[in-house]
Symmetry: D3
Subunit: 300 residues, 6 copies
């Protein structure tokens, strides 16, 4: 085939792919000036948040106690700028023209106001994450220091992203909160929906394959192992046969529950305080306080 033929195939394919019938439903047409939800910008925001919350562990800078306010100041200002854009992007995404005017001062003002509220909650986020670090350290005989937990444990990364994303979702910001937890999902294999509600002193060991669904509720001091699913059992369909959105469909885990690796807990059931769920099992009914479930013995 001669090069002209290749060019011919390429230009013909370009025409097909540029035909609006072909990209219907798969095309996001941005309006001029509208910020774009950006995984790269959100990753930078997460890195700024990590360096603000755990100073000296993330980011390049060698902070000390006399200069820490410079670093936190610059990082918060950077975060404010980047996040205002992404909040606006989230607000505008997929809405009709009447709801969001990306170029209008009002929309940007609104995004900045949400972002400022988020920033003002960072001290509380740090307090909460400090309890998660403590729980991870106390729960793992292999952990040698808080510093090792903060630097190395994927759970800390996943829970940080979740707590940030949850806060943004509470402030009414869609989409970008989901992208933030998916960034942690890709990095750690831990998939926590930003809608879940999770108490203090939460920890996940190893974590690959953990799934925590959108309407899950976890009390304080809960511990999960790798591969645990807190999922939905089935979902009621509407009259068109589509799943009804927004129904409570994921489990409630009360305080001090432990779930071992690869266990699957499905549906709006309650696992009572202090219960222990053994690994590799499938739970679809309520479990009483203090119970211990294990898999039946394997056949030899």
């Amino acid at each position: 085939m001669d090069p002209l033929n290749f060019t011919h195939i390429l230009t013909k394919t370009v025409d097909e792919l540029s035909d609006s019938a072909s990209y219907k439903g798969l095309f996001h047409q941005h309006r001029d000036g509208e910020p774009i939800p950006s995984a790269k910008a959100l990753q930078s925001i997460i890195e700024l948040a990590r360096s603000i919350i755990f100073p000296g562990y993330f980011g390049k800078s060698t902070v000390n106690s006399r200069t820490i306010n410079y670093h936190i100041g610059v990082n918060i200002e950077k975060m404010f700028g980047l996040l205002t854009d992404q909040v606006l992007a989230g607000l505008c995404f997929g809405r009709g023209e009447e709801c969001c005017e990306p170029d209008s001062a009002d929309s940007r003002e609104c995004a900045a106001s949400i972002t400022a509220q988020f920033v003002s909650r960072l001290p509380e986020l740090r307090r909460l994450l400090a309890t998660d670090v403590e729980a991870a350290y106390n729960g793992d005989p292999a952990a040698t220091s808080y510093g090792e937990v903060i630097s190395c444990y994927p759970a800390i990364r996943a829970i940080s992203n979740y707590r940030i994303a949850h806060e943004l979702l509470e402030l009414g910001v869609p989409l970008i909160s989901r992208i933030i937890t998916e960034l942690a999902h890709s990095e750690t294999g831990i998939d926590i929906h930003p809608g879940a509600r999770i108490g203090a002193y939460f920890t996940i060991d190893h974590g690959t394959g953990v799934v925590i669904g959108a309407t899950s509720i976890l009390g304080e001091n809960v511990k999960l192992y790798q591969g645990v699913t807190l999922g939905a059992k089935s979902f009621p369909l509407d009259k068109n046969g589509k799943p009804i959105k927004g129904i409570d469909r994921h489990p409630i885990l009360e305080d001090n529950v432990i779930v071992y690796s690869n266990a699957t807990i499905l549906g709006r059931i309650t696992i009572g305080r202090n219960a222990v769920i053994g690994g590799n099992i499938w739970v679809t009914e309520d479990v009483p306080e203090g119970a211990r479930l294990v898999q039946p013995k394997a056949a030899k």
Copy 2:
């Protein structure tokens, strides 16, 4: 130990490691001018493909319907150049000198011809991926829009890479198709072998830990949850005790099958239409149409 001693250790180790006996079997000696299979180049190719198939969701550009053809045109031309090189790299990799002459116009012409065929199938790939997006949206009550599914769902990334890699494998390109699915494996925890054959409206929820083996066959409208394995049970050995390559050894899932989290389905068995496989179970025998399998109750 003084610095001279360090230098001495280093140079001695360099000599050991440069000894051909030491690197035997672990060394890939490129011939001059031969392109190198490159995960980085293949990642760029995947990103170009994503931005072509889902315009406005991936890539930096802010396309609109009047300028979309410029963007698709430039991206297809870039992809054609990068992919021709990688196809040639795949063709040459590990073959004897008689099969591939990297510098010869014929080999490059052949790679370009394969690449042009691949490009001409992009519109069909887009049509197929549109069905996967629809299936993910319809199957998840937490999904709020097609846009969220395309932007955030790891399954869409993994299935895109798989469908691209499968197409390349069908066109006779080894190795690089495998690298492409491993890129998605690393990003999403979903491991689909490019050899598998998978129908339209395919979806995977959450997805971490999913494995779909090389000779698996999936019908239309199949849904898998995280941690599902479609694997081989055992493999017949040849007379040297090595596994015989290329035998059909993975399951067949017919239309509308659902498999819940962490289930393991092994061997060339058939899961019949509309069957539902519960989580955390181990299936090594055929399952009839419409059957529902669940794990036995856990012991308390």
Copy 3:
């Protein structure tokens, strides 16, 4: 809200977050001149190690047998510099001032000496990894060449990082060995603690979700599938209710053991030579030589 108010919120939050009471326990204060443990530097070190051990497969360079010593020489020198810094960072991290003087020639000399020892073991590491490549190739009917195994298989990446990290831990370097295995965990979903002891011809198929605990011992020719956990069952607490660190608490797998997907093996138990553990099961007691365990049949 006007911009001045936003600035006011930001500066107030900066003050709160810069208050030493707020960051207590979450702040790593570097001393001047002390190198910082850096995931980025360690990733570069791993990439150098891969390009040294498997020449021509990793790294950009197109080596041939006459110029291989230049490449290995430059890469080993780069690795020596980067790793000396990281070893020093690991030695200093979290120790009191009396143990480590980052600016002193002695501390740096000590780090350089450890690094030189590590470098001198690279030929042995290559020999060991060659057995792992061979095991992966022989154990997978889908593998078409050693080259494909080296280029594509996540297990090779995870095992390489583990063997490097284990060597560093043996030389007394904390923290950074852990960061190295977590880098592979993030890339592959395979979490091998650097403290584990693993024999030659080790392979993991697919691998996502595999966890191998700190005190695990694996013989030669062991094969694991995705989702396998070699974990601790429970850990004795000290008088303060904290887990006692450093106790042997993970399984021993003797030579030729195979463990199928999602099986969970917990506690200091022994799985005897040639035993086969089926998928999705939960094992907390010794398994005799040659035994085959499988899950009880699923209920229909």
Copy 4:
């Protein structure tokens, strides 16, 4: 001096430098959302312009005549976005709040409108630059092809930047037009003020040290050598002893004038058609049509 003392010096200096009395007149306080004039963004704009005007010579892309419109389309869209921002930055820079509302749709609309006008003049700019390329080729016996002139000759870069900047200044955009010519000044040593008016078929040989002042007027087919100054002789002062801005104070060179290296021509004088000014001389009076000026003989 101990490290605490260093920190003390640093923080004290930070306080001094953050005192508003200290940075008075040297501080540009951006309003929120206002784009910043950026040499980096302007350099990108210049590179896009070069790749649009001289396709195949600048930019990475390997265009051919069937795909050229894709490339030009994408590059023009990128330029439009970047330049709209920079035009807005130029309009806002240093003006009072009443003149420019960076967040208002009107200001951005105005910047976009100016940018669209600029873009619509690119075909005319290309026509003009084609005459400059022709003049450079014809005027230099060392030039072997138009391609060499376009790729290598600093004059083409400097004149391109000048013609772009002049167009922007004509459209009323301050500051950024000046930054654009200074970028060329740094790259080539040729300093052409964007206010100068220069006819077609203009060329500069070698060019380092050439200065063309803001109110200079050059006819068609003018040729300058390196080190030539077209400057102001002296400038009338206002009653405060400050130079009066905006007066015509630089030379007029009529068609076909040639000026040799290091000649200095000062003041609002006229060098008549076809005149030749020899090197290293100092001219402050009108020169008649067709005259040839040379330096007096050197003393031996």
Copy 5:
């Protein structure tokens, strides 16, 4: 020639070039741990200095008066770290082993102390540069604002680098001060030796080709045009025929002197207060206060 022959030529050339006789005098052998003088690090230091001295004009950050101290704080801390390394590099460069122990705490302490002194002089440097900005603005009818002068004028960049480099030379730091002025030389074509002594309100118009020699002394309010040389006429040789280093050999320009383009002033002569030197002339003798020198008329 076949590829083996090419490899043979390359390896043979490597051997020749690695022969110590071949690189004698052209090779800088670093001692382990010794920082390397780095143009890239020095460029970063200059950019930090510019963003500290002229806040809001250089650097990406959008500072305002309430957050300026965060930015200056972070930038000064970064500069302190980078510059301490470069000062140490400068001190060590080319000295014998007895003078500098790069790994010793003392040498680093000494470099840090010099750097802290430099930092403490930044407020004074800003005061001085403010006078240079004022002089440039007042001296050029084309300048529209201080902001334009700071953003665009190459003289401000060259003079900033010079004043920084001069300060470092005064503090006893060799080599790197010279690299700093050469960075400005490359960027602007203005070559000011860091040894020169230059008063306040100094300005250079256009500037390409200006040379100011190492022992030059300039008073206050001096103005130079492009191409001006303040050089040495000849230099006395020592008994080996080598020029004697360190003798005063460049001109003294008293307050308010103006020198027009391409004038060359050579030797330890004095140009008296208020003198004006016309362009393109060659001056090797003292010029009295208030004199005006011009080139003889050109021959027609």
Copy 6:
């Protein structure tokens, strides 16, 4: 104007600029697979050459005498690859299809052979450049060491590029040799045509504005100051009024000639051994051996 109008203007301009009549003579259409002359690749080649010729001064690596051959080996191999491509690009540029077949093994072989010859001359280039370093050091009282000359002096960069480019031109490689000297021109303001012939011990002080024309011949031990032009006086025209290419038209400077700043020497004249040409003068006639020319005294 509404956004649709902007889009309309942009697409209309794209059409105009994509019209082949518009880009005639300004468009370089690459054939498929043909390497593109690349300033960026050539800059990398120059940096590799500098790090090979002056080990330890350029490049990041911290070489010592025992590991120098690794570094030189890797750098020469990289240079060989990059330069072969650029030589091929130079050979193909602007030639008809019959002269160059970019994809054919023969053309690439030919380029590789030229490149191998170039590489084999690097030891001789190093010997020559060592004489230039010596001349710069001996000729400048401000130079404190060979190291300072190599690190800081723009003349060394410009002369290195020239000597490399001259070698390539001698080997018959057009265009890219010119790009190489223009890279130095932009960096240093020194413009030496690769065709010039220049003896050993050559030095240029400061250098901005120096021009050395294509047919200049310089003996040994020549010294130039900034702003010196060795140019052509006028060029005979052919019958079409175009300058005749390739005629000897630049000066010959015999051994030990010194030319001071801003002097202009034009035409095929000879400046005899040991002659000294004063600054700011214009020389168009032969100058005898040992003569000293100076500018007539300035008028006061």
